[in-house]
Symmetry: C2
Subunit: 393 residues, 2 copies
């Protein structure tokens, strides 16, 4: 075995689909010596974290806590706790993460009712209504608020009442929207919502905040069968995070330190100011890319501020550009997933990564790399267009 | 909502059942800025981590990697990947973690064959043989190498051939033994083994190293049904950690930085030296406790070096002592679990927590606290007995 050397990774500017860059206060929190997972001091931190999560989710839900796994564990936790074998489950599939939900639904022995639209597009209330009419007794409807694979931004408010009229629960994937775009769990009638830490919260990957309202919690409590996953069984996890403090698994202490600090930073900035920052940087990037002749790929009017899916210009080599951005500029952007591989780049402007300097530096780098690839673009054109947005807004 | 203040937890000496104290180099690794989960630099770190894990597990198994969850997620990952509905699964239950495995086996729709012995005791090869004779076609036999709830140390070498003669796989829980007591996955014929990071590896909780040999991997690959958990499906996880680097979930970057550094520290110390250190500190603690009239609770000859389950003396208040150790000495020790609650304390001497100064300080603190409780013990008696061990060994 070769000896692994000292840890010395490159200083990346993380503009991919996550992780995003981490504030130094969060890194410092990570390096704080540990207390035990049942220490009264940790229990106080848990309570503070739950309060802070309620603030970012805009909810009063008692069961609001971080699952001890990444965003996908949160997705799985929400679905396996709510679904029983044989249940009808409506899933909107317009990207990778809807498809993943269908996979999980099937593993639960439930019956997915797949509602599809083109990748990059969103669902209309009419589509949801039509799908619900095909169902007998749907357990839940699951939609992705912010599709990380396409950059599409799904409106939720008008869909929620339709879901409830059909007697179903409304489950929302907010992995790439929480703390980056407006999300109001209570006001919008979302019953269950999950997210990840490594996107707009700018905390390292490893935890998945989830929130369940009382109606959803009753569904979990009235299950006829045990939750198929022991690790993700919320009836036990809530006893550790709730008043009883019953040992379930050992909470990831350091990651919880980091999440709490990341949430404190969100609180200090304020949600509205944070959303405006994300919007402004997205608008500037879009203007800059537009000046270079590069189009956003998601449906017009439904483009996320947090994750920009952009069409790779004809004749430009996807992998070469990404590799050059990484090697020569220390910038990470994301590749397309599934059918969008080679067709789009995914540029994340999330949390600490959503800054004016990152937008301008990325545009300048893209100009240089694309020009080298023979793509016709004037140096400074994209940067100037973005600057115009910053000056105006 | 009250404002959560600056993170400033107490400086604990962690002598409970985990987490253990963390080396400053591991804390520093945690605070290192992130690269992306598909960054070539992270991929190199993943390969190094796999190599280092093979070293601590003493295995050549290709599939050796950290699951993105705590030790319980590793337990669940091993079981749900190997077990299909209807399978016969032998589980040794002599503490909390055997019971947990039975629970998971049941959630898989499989048939647990429970082999029991008193908590604190271990299983003999004869018991295992007798249990296997009751089975038709057992899929696997699962035993806990180091029972964190009782401090019992289960011998494995003579049991392994019996398991294989019965055509079953041998699955071992090494959460509290890996890198603290000898464990030889390949030489002992262990097919599947899992552990946690927050015990003898002295890394924060949040990852679970697992290793599968080729025979076990074939069982996973030949499954008739999908693995019930998407998040823990090793057929997909191995494609991310293997040559293909196919995106599954976003790996917890910071936790992987920490694990790699913790493993480097193990490698630098050397496994043999590390085991001797754990043995010596355990022997000194046991001598010190003995001098105070406090007995170890696990079966004689099968007591772990890493986790000491000690009988709470009659008339002494469990919670008061633990609280006083925490408040006045910053020492955490663990409470008993399940039927042992109020009957034992669990004193962990794992990884960075297994030091001479911790043993002596804990004994001195216990002497003072117990004396205050009216328990007859002379100040310095326990410390002196431990010192005698250090001087002799």
């Amino acid at each position: 075995m070769e000896t692994a050397g000292e840890l010395a990774p490159a200083a990346r500017i993380l503009l991919g689909p996550g992780p995003s860059n981490i504030h130094s206060r969060v890194l410092k929190a990570l390096s704080t010596p540990l207390v035990g997972h049942l220490d009264p001091e940790f229990i106080r931190l848990m309570d503070e974290t739950k309060d802070l999560l309620r603030f970012v989710f805009q909810t009063k839900n008692t069961l609001t806590l971080p699952i001890s796994g990444t965003g996908s564990a949160g997705m799985e936790a929400c679905l396996v706790n709510l679904i029983e074998p044989g249940d009808e489950v409506v899933v909107g599939v317009n990207g990778v993460f809807g498809s993943r939900m269908v996979d999980i639904v099937e593993r639960c022995g439930a019956k997915p009712v797949v509602m599809e639209t083109q990748w990059g597009n969103v669902f209309t209330p009419d589509q949801v209504q039509a799908t619900l009419k095909r169902c007998r007794q749907p357990r839940l409807v699951a939609l992705v608020h912010a599709e990380t694979s396409t950059g599409a931004w799904q409106p939720l408010e008008e869909i929620s009442p339709l879901v409830h009229q059909a007697g179903a629960l409304f489950v929302v994937d907010a992995v790439t929207s929480l703390a980056g775009c407006p999300l109001q769990v209570d006001a919008w009638g979302i019953d269950v919502c999950y997210s990840g830490t490594q996107k707009c919260l700018s905390c390292p990957p490893g935890l998945s905040p989830v929130t369940f309202n009382q109606v959803a919690l009753e569904v979990v409590r009235r299950r006829k069968s045990k939750v198929p996953s022991w690790y993700l069984d919320l009836t036990m996890i809530e006893k550790y995070w709730g008043e009883e403090r019953v040992y379930h698994h050992t909470a990831p202490i350091s990651m919880n330190y980091a999440l709490r600090e990341a949430l404190r930073l969100v609180q200090e900035e304020g949600l509205e100011a944070r959303f405006r920052r994300h919007q402004r940087n997205h608008t500037a990037l879009a203007a800059g890319l537009g000046a270079l002749g590069i189009a956003l790929a998601a449906q017009e009017g439904h483009r996320l501020w947090t994750l920009n899916s952009v069409t790779i210009p004809v004749g430009v080599d996807d992998a070469v550009v990404r590799r050059q951005l990484l090697d020569d500029y220390n910038i990470e952007i994301g590749a397309g997933l599934g059918p969008l591989r080679g067709k789009v780049w995914r540029i994340g402007l999330m949390g600490e990564s959503s800054t004016r300097s990152n937008v301008l530096f990325l545009l300048s780098a893209l100009e240089e790399v694309l020009q080298e690839q023979g793509y016709p673009c004037a140096l400074g054109a994209g940067v100037a267009a973005a600057q115009a947005v910053y000056v105006a807004v």
